[in-house]
């Protein structure tokens, strides 16, 4: 019993170490290149151009947010990158390989709650590694690590129905990251949360992102959230869904709540707000 515990602690250390030094790992990049992407929803009666001429490159380990009015095709774009929807024109490449369907290297966090209700928090986090055939002990180490990161250790054996909305999204993020994806796709993951929880979640996400170093493509319609989180904000417009403009966020790399008061933050917020009004 004792020996097993020790072993687990050892593994945890090892796993934490390897997760921490992720960028050094060979072959793990995560550059997304979207080129000339178009999407048409066609039915017998009508034809709807949801996306047209999208060109966007997201560098490895970059954190990019997309903002835009409701219905401009943000989710559609993200789902195409995830491989859950088909594109009708152009291409999406991940590290040079064309994306053709969903895969473990592109993790996703959805707006709605999509934890598996029949699995405990820990089992949800271990779902991806288990599919990959990671050994039980190593899986435990991974889930323990992420339970610590999302600060839900005492809920390891709870079922999703026992969690609050914010806790569920934290687990969903951990579940996606436990799979060591090259890219993390997030579709308004904090949209349903109250203001305070949202701030906490944003800080936690940045903390995790700095540790795990994956590429993040994050969708929101909250301008402040977009600026606070990312290094680059992409603004989309509707009819057809297209990219209007991209902004580099010139703020300190270390984001604390104080950056929200900085002139650079406020002026970018004003600029984005003006652009989105039209």
């Amino acid at each position: 019993m004792e020996a097993a515990k020790k072993q687990e602690a050892l593994y945890e250390e090892k796993a934490a170490g390897s997760i921490g030094s992720a960028p050094a790992e060979a072959g793990r990049q995560g550059e997304i290149v979207i080129a000339g992407l178009g999407k048409v929803y066609a039915s017998k009666k009508n034809r709807f151009e949801a996306l047209a001429g999208i060109d966007l490159t997201i560098g490895a380990n970059e954190f990019v947010t997309i903002v835009g009015p409701s219905g401009c095709g943000k989710s559609t774009l993200l789902r195409i990158v995830a491989g859950l929807d088909d594109l009708t024109e152009g291409s999406v490449r991940l590290d040079g390989d064309e994306v053709v369907g969903p895969g473990a290297e592109r993790g996703m966090v959805f707006q709605g709650y999509t934890l598996f209700p029949w699995l405990t928090v820990r089992e949800n986090i271990e779902y991806g590694p288990k599919l990959k055939g990671v050994s039980t002990l190593e899986r435990r180490a991974i889930s323990s690590h992420f339970l610590k990161v999302i600060r839900l250790e005492q809920f390891a054996n709870a079922y999703p129905k026992q969690l609050s909305g914010g806790m569920k999204q934290r687990v969903a993020i951990a579940r996606a990251l436990a799979n060591r994806p090259k890219v993390l796709l997030m579709d308004e993951p904090f949209g349903a949360l109250d203001a305070q929880t949202k701030l906490e979640m944003q800080e936690m996400l940045l903390e995790v992102w700095e540790k795990e170093k994956t590429t993040v493509l994050f969708i929101t319609h909250d301008i402040e959230e977009a600026i606070f989180l990312s290094r680059r904000v992409v603004v989309m417009g509707a009819n057809p869904g297209r990219i209007l403009k991209a902004f580099d966020v010139k703020l300190p790399a270390q984001r604390t709540q104080e950056v929200r008061e900085l002139p650079a933050f406020l002026s970018l917020k004003r600029e984005l707000g003006a652009l989105l009004k039209h």
Binding site: G107, F116, W118, K161
Partner: protein, 266 residues
């Protein structure tokens, strides 16, 4: 607005849980009411006793019958027939239903003919079954099987289709392929609903049992009821009906219990 005058909550609140005790009490009261109506009608001789025996006569008859090995044999053989037909229907029907619910080709292949056959009364198959399977044990099991099978397949397919597409897509983005998604998402996700479906179908199985035992048998509860009818022995008919009701209730409770124990997450 007066703060001290708090409004008493309504007794009947939509979907509101009332707790175990009030529930059990109300259920008991409902049974009691049934018994009272029965008593009033029978003791007051409002209905001819040949048609409606008194509760105490039925009770003494029940105690008498349950004291005989012969009646337990009837119960045993009936339980066996119901179980065999039901389990066979499950073995074939559940995988077929999942298949039909998962793939559109499966739906197209399985469901239209089933929808068609489902509306043919199982009773109408009796002569055919007797031609096919004779009048032996298999004939009864086959009838129960047919009665359950088509309903079961359609309901399981429906359960499967109700699984949230978001959960499936989440599993895809976590690296699951089609078969893994079926194994690790579809099948766990339908289980609680599936148990409810099985509960309902088991009810059907008991109905078809009585139908199956009405023809050419000399054992089983249905037969006992038929025999009692021939002698206009309504006491025994009532005993038969009550025993079948009790057996159905017991199996139903077992399912409900299993559902709570096996799926605490639901």
């Amino acid at each position: 607005m007066n703060a001290t005058k708090r409004r008493k909550p309504h007794t009947f609140q939509i979907f509101k849980d009332i707790g175990g005790r009030p529930f059990a009490f109300t259920a008991g009261f409902s049974f009691l009411l049934l018994l009272i109506v029965w008593s009033v009608l029978s003791y007051a001789k409002a209905v001819n006793p040949v048609f409606l025996p008194t509760p105490d006569k039925v009770l003494t008859e029940m105690i008498k019958l349950l004291g005989t090995g012969e009646y337990w044999h009837h119960i045993g053989i009936s339980v066996f027939r119901v179980s065999a037909g039901f389990i066979l229907a499950c073995i074939v029907g559940i995988p077929l239903g999942i298949f039909a619910g998962t793939f559109k080709y499966g739906e197209a292949f399985v469901e239209p003919p089933m929808e068609f056959i489902r509306y043919m009364p199982a009773v109408a198959f009796i002569p055919l079954i007797m031609v096919w399977a004779g009048i032996g044990e298999w004939a009864k099991i086959l009838l129960i099987f047919l009665g359950c099978f088509f309903q079961l397949v359609l309901m399981v397919a429906d359960n499967t289709r109700r699984v949230s597409a978001d959960l499936l897509q989440a599993s895809f983005t976590l690296g699951a392929g089609r078969w893994k998604a079926i194994e690790t998402v579809l099948i766990p996700a339908i289980q609680p609903q599936l148990m409810n479906t099985l509960r309902l179908i088991l009810g059907w199985a008991w109905t078809y049992l009585v139908v199956a035992e009405l023809v050419a048998v000399n054992s089983g509860l249905g037969y006992a009821i038929m025999k009692a009818q021939r002698f206009l022995n309504t006491d025994q008919i009532f005993v038969g009906i009550i025993v079948i009701g009790l057996l159905g209730l017991i199996s139903d409770r077992i399912f409900a219990f299993l559902n709570r124990r096996l799926f605490p997450w639901a």
